[in-house]
Every structure is written in structure tokens, then in C-alpha cells.
């Protein structure tokens, strides 16, 4: 029986994390009412001219630097022409002849070890609008809010050979691009999506088989299923002649678990690409290049090693934190403030991550001020605020910009060192519960815990538990 190998290349689109669109000043944010983030430029009115958003070029460069690409110092935009009502100008402004980045590599790790996947190019382009089909009136409704939202398309060489490698590649891209704040890469919201180009050939052959392209995949698990289905379909076609494989674009139906042919793939000529005469070439001089290079973050694994070697975290803790740039940023600034990285890691992993999960927020959505978290942890370590009360303050800090110490003072969360005052509260509690006192004295050790709990409540938790325990036993014994 012939053994086959799979050859896969990916085109990954990510939405760039900008405030405004690529060629006009309309907001690029999600969630506006239909056609509220639109102007004459992005809805294709005649005579409007594009002006490139500086941040888009910088994020494009950043993506390239994270993926070891060469940056084209002179980069140009081209028009890709096709007619569709989600494209008001009848052309998409994209890059064909001098894309911003070329020739990169991404290292991936799978069960078979590590491997380099080559990046052919990264280009900047604009997104299209959205069509809603209205069955009632049998028309299509057009929303141009997403038109001209900036995208980067990352094109790999056909270096991937299994669904496992594709998943590892996508996860690696997502991690690097999130770390560099290029994109939030949220597949479920469509800010990261990919086209999978796939063919199979007998093992060892250097001739490529017939290639099919599965368009617009936006879930990692669906991508795995689609690849497995397509590989089986291709092998079946070659082995049994059940169908003739043709080069085509297919759509994956994840519910039915099948792929379907779409329109025939247009060749590059059909799009009549030509240089956009309205956008002058963009020249990236050394100064600009260096200023972007300076903003690059440490790679996640470099950070992880540093957290373990220099800051004394466990592998597990370092792994948890380096899952998200926002967690890392918060960790680093909190550690700098309080000087206790292990404590900060504990707070982030046990409390902050839990709070994020509870609110169904991703780790990257964390906006907690690390400096203030550091202040709070210091208050606990200095014995000024109890751990339980610090957790209450932390949950307020999640939603409000407060100063932890001021807040603790204002709301009665400062631990009391006034033993006279503590003793008087204990005495009152003890006097009010003669049964517990009698139980304790008759040998029921547990009775002291109920008294301890009552005292702690009376003290609003603002007491060193050890001090409270000693004073309590003393007072009970004397009672």
C-alpha cells in the first residue's frame, strides 16, 4: 500500500490592534451599530483618498520582527480588483509587489520534536464589509463598519505536514503576536482566521499533488477536523478513483463534518493587481525601524527561563504566567514594587486568574495595575492588612482605580496592633458565649475555634491571627 504525506501551507489573517482603520480615521473597534463607523473614504465614495495609519505599518513591522522576517524598507500598496457588494471600492487595497515583510521562520514544537516553518511573506491589507442576507425581502444588507479595518496576512511556505503541526503553528503565532500586542488573535471573534492549502503525495515524491484550499477557518478544533477529512478524501480519491481531484476552494461545514466545493479559484491574473497610484511608497528609515525594534517584547520562553532562573519561580508558575503578556506585565511591575516575585505569582495564579475566569475574561483582558497589586501584597506581607481583607480589596481593584492603602484605611481594613482594644472585643465575645467557654474548659478543643471565628468577625478580620489566638486562649483560661 502506498504511504502518503500531507503538504500544508497556511494563510493566516489577523486583525491589527489599532484604534482607527487603515486608510481613514473611522473607529476600528468592534460592536458599533451598523454603518456607524463609516466615512466617505471607507464606503467608497468617489474622489476620496487613502492616508495610511502609521500604527498599521508599525504593527506589520512588529509581526515581521517576531517571526524573524526581513523588513522591506520600501513597501508599497496594490489594488486587487473584484466586484462584490461588501467591497465598496470594487478593489481591496493590499500588498503584492513589495509586502512589508518577507522570508521569516517560526519554530514549532510537536510530539515529533521541533521544526522550523518558513514564512513566505506578511502583507498589510484592508478587511471587507459584512453582508446580512434578508430572507424576508430577498435582498442583502450591507454593513461597512469592518471595511478598511487593518489586517495582516501571514503566508507560510508549504512546510506543515499534519493537523498537529498546524495547531502548533497557529498557537505559536497567536502567542507571539499577542505578546507583541500586534493583535488579540481571538479566533471566536474573527480577529484571527485562516485559509488552509492542502495536498497529498506519495511519501518521498518531490512532485506536489492537486491542491485544495479551505477558506475562512476560525476554530482550532474545526481546523483539525477539516484537515483530517480532506486528507482522507484525497487519499480515497487517489486510491479508489472515487472522484477526480481538482484545484479548488472549499468550504468546511463543521456540523456536517464535510467540505464542499466553492467557486473556482481565481488566478492572480483575474484580480488584475496593479500598484495603487494613490498611496506613495512607504519608506522605513533606520530611525523608524530601530524605534519599533526597541518595543519588541522578550519571547515567552525567554521570559519563562528568566522567571525561573532569576526570580526563583517554579516551572509551573512561570509557565502559567507566560501564557499572557498582560499577566507578565502585571507580574513584573508588581514584583518591582514589592520585591516578592513568588508572592506576586501566587496572587496572580490563585486569585487573579480565578477572578478572570469567573468574569469569562481572557488573561490578556487583565487591566489590573501591577504597581498597585504590588502595594497590596506589601500591605499583607507587612502585616498591615489581613489576607482575607486583601482579597476583598483586590476584587474592588479589578473594577475600580483605587489606591489599596487609602482604600484599606477608609474602609476599616487596617490590622489593629492595639492589644487593649483587641482584648476588650475578645472579652465581650467570651462573656456572651459561656457555653463555648465551658466546652473548651471541659476539653473540647474545637470550641475555641468558634470563639476565634466570632472575634475575627467582630474585628472585621483586621487582626494578626496569631496575636488573636494567644490573647483569646489567655482570656478564656482566665474566664
Amino acid at each position: 500500500m502506498t504511504k502518503y504525506e500531507t503538504v500544508i501551507g497556511l494563510e493566516v489573517h489577523v486583525e491589527l490592534a489599532t484604534k482607527s482603520k487603515i486608510f481613514c480615521s473611522c473607529s476600528a473597534e468592534f460592536g458599533a451599530e451598523q454603518n456607524e463607523s463609516v466615512c466617505p473614504a471607507c464606503c467608497g465614495m468617489p474622489g476620496m483618498l487613502p492616508i495610511v495609519n502609521k500604527k498599521v505599518v508599525e504593527l506589520g513591522m512588529t509581526a515581521g520582527m517576531m517571526l524573524n522576517c526581513d523588513i522591506n524598507r520600501v513597501t508599497t500598496f496594490d489594488k486587487k480588483n473584484y466586484y462584490y457588494p461588501d467591497l465598496p471600492t470594487s478593489y481591496q487595497t493590499t500588498q503584492l509587489f513589495a509586502p512589508i515583510c518577507v522570508n521569516g521562520t517560526v519554530e514549532i514544537t510537536t510530539s515529533k520534536g521541533t521544526k522550523n516553518v518558513r514564512i513566505k511573506q506578511i502583507h498589510m491589507e484592508e478587511d471587507a464589509g459584512k453582508l446580512v442576507h434578508d430572507d424576508w425581502t430577498d435582498t442583502s444588507l450591507v454593513d461597512f463598519n469592518r471595511t478598511s479595518v487593518p489586517l495582516c496576512e501571514i503566508v507560510s511556505q508549504p512546510d506543515l505536514s499534519s493537523a498537529e503541526e498546524v495547531v502548533a503553528y497557529l498557537e505559536r503565532l497567536r502567542s507571539l503576536l499577542r505578546f507583541a500586542k500586534v493583535s488579540d488573535c481571538r479566533m471566536e471573534q474573527g480577529s484571527m482566521r485562516c485559509d488552509v492549502n492542502l495536498s497529498i503525495r506519495p511519501e518521498g515524491s518531490d512532485k506536489l499533488g492537486v491542491r485544495t484550499e479551505i477558506k475562512n477557518m476560525n476554530s482550532i478544533s474545526a481546523i483539525t477536523r477539516a484537515i483530517e477529512y480532506e486528507v482522507a478524501r484525497h487519499i480515497d480519491a487517489l486510491e479508489t478513483g472515487s472522484e477526480e481531484l481538482v484545484q479548488e476552494t472549499r468550504r468546511w461545514d463543521d456540523i456536517k463534518g464535510k467540505s464542499y466545493a466553492m467557486r473556482n479559484k481565481e488566478t492572480a491574473g483575474d484580480y488584475r493587481y496593479f500598484p495603487d497610484p494613490n498611496i506613495m511608497p512607504i519608506v522605513i528609515d533606520d530611525e523608524w525601524y530601530d524605534s519599533v525594534k526597541k518595543t519588541l517584547p522578550e519571547f515567552p520562553e525567554v521570559k519563562k527561563a528568566r522567571y525561573v532562573d532569576k526570580l526563583g519561580l517554579t516551572e509551573y508558575d512561570a509557565d502559567q504566567l507566560t501564557r499572557s503578556r498582560a499577566l507578565c506585565d502585571c507580574f513584573e511591575s508588581a514584583s518591582a514594587t514589592c520585591g516578592m516575585p513568588k508572592e506576586v505569582a501566587n496572587w496572580l495564579i490563585s486569585d487573579v486568574m480565578k477572578m478572570l475566569n469567573k468574569k469569562s475574561m481572557t488573561f490578556d483582558m487583565l487591566s489590573l495595575d501591577g504597581n498597585k497589586l504590588g502595594q497590596l501584597i506589601k500591605l499583607v506581607e507587612d502585616g498591615k492588612v489581613s489576607r482575607a481583607n486583601a482579597k476583598k480589596i483586590l476584587s474592588i481593584m479589578f473594577d475600580e482605580d483605587i489606591n489599596p492603602e487609602e482604600y484599606a484605611e477608609k474602609n476599616g481594613y487596617i490590622v489593629s496592633n492595639d492589644t487593649d482594644q483587641i482584648a476588650s472585643i475578645i472579652s465581650a465575645v467570651v462573656a456572651g458565649d459561656p457555653k463555648a467557654v465551658a466546652d473548651y474548659k471541659s476539653g473540647k478543643e474545637k470550641a475555641i475555634m468558634s470563639l476565634f471565628g466570632k472575634c475575627m468577625r467582630e474585628l472585621k478580620g483586621n487582626c494578626d491571627p496569631q496575636v488573636l489566638k494567644e490573647l483569646l486562649i489567655d482570656i478564656v483560661n482566665k474566664a
Binding site: 482607527s20 476600528a28 451598523q34 456607524e36 466617505p40 502609521k54 454593513d143 461597512f144 498611496i279
Partner: protein, 93 residues
């Protein structure tokens, strides 16, 4: 350029040349190819690429979102709208 390729170009451009015309076109392209080849002799490794005939490059803007237009104004000239959407004939994929 080979004659076969020229015939292919004629086809995609919906043209039809007589054989004599083809000879002329092929001779023309051969001469241009020679001209281009002669450019290879020029030492260009130290010359920066010309970005534009005028010493200008693209004007770029800072990433600031500004709302300057109202939807109703933009849709004034639209043949049909519904609920803030432009309305067009239904498309079947």
C-alpha cells in the same frame, strides 16, 4: 519571446494578428529585451532604489479614531436602505 506565447497573449486580450504583424511585434520585443539586457552591465549595487520621480514618500497619520460623518448623511444618495444598512439585490454564493 516565442511565437506560441504571443498567440496566447492575443487570445487572452481578444486580439488576432496577421503573421506579418506577429513578425513585427516579435522583432520589437527582441530589440527591447536587448535594451534591457544592456542595463545589466550598469553597476547598481550601491544605488538606492528610486521611490518616486519626485523626492516624496507617503504621508502617514497617527492612529487616532475620529467620527466625522453621520450615517444618515452618508446614506442620503443610496437607492435603498433598511435599518441603517445599504440594501442591495440578494447575492447567492
Amino acid at each position: 519571446m516565442e511565437k506560441e506565447y504571443l498567440i496566447k497573449l492575443e487570445k487572452v486580450n481578444e486580439l488576432r494578428l496577421e503573421d506579418a504583424e506577429r513578425e513585427n511585434v516579435l522583432a520589437f520585443f527582441e530589440k527591447r529585451a536587448e535594451d534591457l539586457a544592456s542595463l545589466e552591465e550598469v553597476e547598481t549595487s550601491n544605488i538606492t532604489r528610486m521611490v518616486h520621480v519626485m523626492p516624496i514618500t507617503a504621508g502617514i497619520r497617527e492612529d487616532v479614531a475620529i467620527k466625522k460623518f453621520e450615517r444618515d448623511d452618508l446614506q442620503k444618495g443610496a437607492p435603498e436602505t433598511t435599518d441603517g444598512y445599504w440594501q442591495v439585490p440578494r447575492l447567492v454564493e
